[in-house]
Amino acid sequence: MPGAGAPSADLIHQAAQWAAMIDAGDVTESEMAACRAWCAADPQHQALLDRMLGFNDRMAAAPFEKAALHRLLHRRQRRPLLAGAAALPLLVAGIWAAWQVLPLHSLFADYRTAPGEQRVVDLADGSRLTLDTDGAIDVELGQKQRLVQLRQGQILAEVAPARDRPFIVETPEGTATALGTSFTVRREAGGTLVTVVESHVRVCASAPPAHVLPCRDIGPGESVHLSARMVTAPKRVDTARATLWTQGWLEVDDQEVADVLIELNRYRDQPIGFDPSALRGLRVTGSFPLTDTDQALQGLARTARLHVDRDTDGHVAVRPGNAAQKN
């Protein structure tokens, strides 16, 4: 029965043609007129077209849904198998393939974080980057390789495996290359720190002298320091602690107070002032929230027995408290 009930396949097909044409955004006057005439011919025509185009608006205004969709595709890639659901593995493989052929140019993107800000970036290939405070990265997902240039700060990379398409984090000092793994890269004054959480990463110096091995493969729980000239021998680290910043915590185990203050200042607009020589030898252990560095400072002051001075401009400075000086 035309004009009522479910639309026929033919009608859906026609509406879809118009919708795709409008979506292309290159409609001529005469095409527009033809489309209007089609819509006017039957209220069901107009209704069908509206519903189709309504989907665009729904999708465009849905950052939450898009993020969840990325996550869904990412998860399918990670844990594809549910035994027996015969149609599924194939279908999942199809979706991987879809994401792997994602094009070059749309996937250039730069991300930045302000002091105190952390940001999770879900990449189109299913990988996820967590960018720490005051950071800057450029991302370029190519057909041959996936490249993240770490300009500043620290990232956790959770890499979606992709054969023949290595995932590389680059700093001026060198590169960390992974195929399906999770690791952090951090730029510091003296070079780059690479810590592997899962699987293996190849770390290579950018300008090694002739006699030095330029690369080193490091495994889970290992951390290396990378300078342009060399990669240091791996050190064992606690990976849970190394990635704790992604949960907004700074965990400190018997470290110099001055180093902890330097770390906290990375998360602050207004740095905490201090005299390193006055604090020398003062050590501290504890967990401090990075999401609220004022609270972190209070906690630190309590634990390390520091005195906090605030002036009227909002400047904050610390010095050793009396009790600490006596110790």
């Binding site: 955004g25 999708m59 969840a68 969709l69 035994a83 015969a86 052929v101 994602l102």
Partner: protein
């Protein structure tokens, strides 16, 4: 077929094959309670059907129905998990996510996931690039190395499939 007779046939199917089907599902879900639920759902589906086809292979038929339910179930769980992940990431702004908003998002995503499952590979990629990544049709064409006309055809197919899914739901 008279209704009472159909119910009797299904009752017989149940006593003969329900155990077997539940084992089949347990192997695939690795979860006894999900297998039990899906077994019940499978027989409910049979009861909802206006007319039961003649069954040459009752187990084959049951498995067909059960597999479809299993795939729906897996997809829903995947979506729930993905949403939970994103909610966890947004803990600061989680207040904006009311239960209604989340339920609505889940429903929408279920539709999109089904759409992705229906589309052939290239059309699926074109759809993702256009709708999710926000490329123009021309940019999609360049990216995939195909003509603009082909992209337009893929996009039209995605609209048509999308509507068919909404109609069917």
């Amino acid at each position: 077929m008279v209704e009472g007779a159909a119910a009797a046939v299904i009752g017989k199917l149940y006593t003969t094959h329900a155990h077997w089907l539940q084992d089949w599902l347990r192997l695939r879900t690795r979860c006894a309670s999900r297998a039990a639920d899906l077994t019940q759902d499978t027989f409910c589906r049979l009861l909802e059907q206006p007319r039961l086809p003649p069954l040459a292979s009752p187990r084959g038929y049951l498995v067909t129905v059960a597999r479809r339910l299993l795939i729906d179930d897996i997809r829903r769980r995947e979506i729930e998990r993905a949403i939970a992940d994103i909610c966890a990431l947004q803990n600061g702004e989680a207040d904006l996510l009311t239960p209604e908003r989340i339920a609505e998002a889940a429903q929408f995503l279920d539709m999109v996931a089904r759409l992705l499952d229906t589309l052939p590979e290239q059309a699926r990629t074109a759809f993702l690039l256009r709708r999710v990544e926000g490329l123009s049709q021309q940019e999609v064409a360049t990216a995939l190395g195909i003509s603009l006309a082909t992209v337009k055809r893929h996009i039209a197919l995605s609209y048509a499939s999308c509507l068919s899914i909404m109609e069917g739901a």
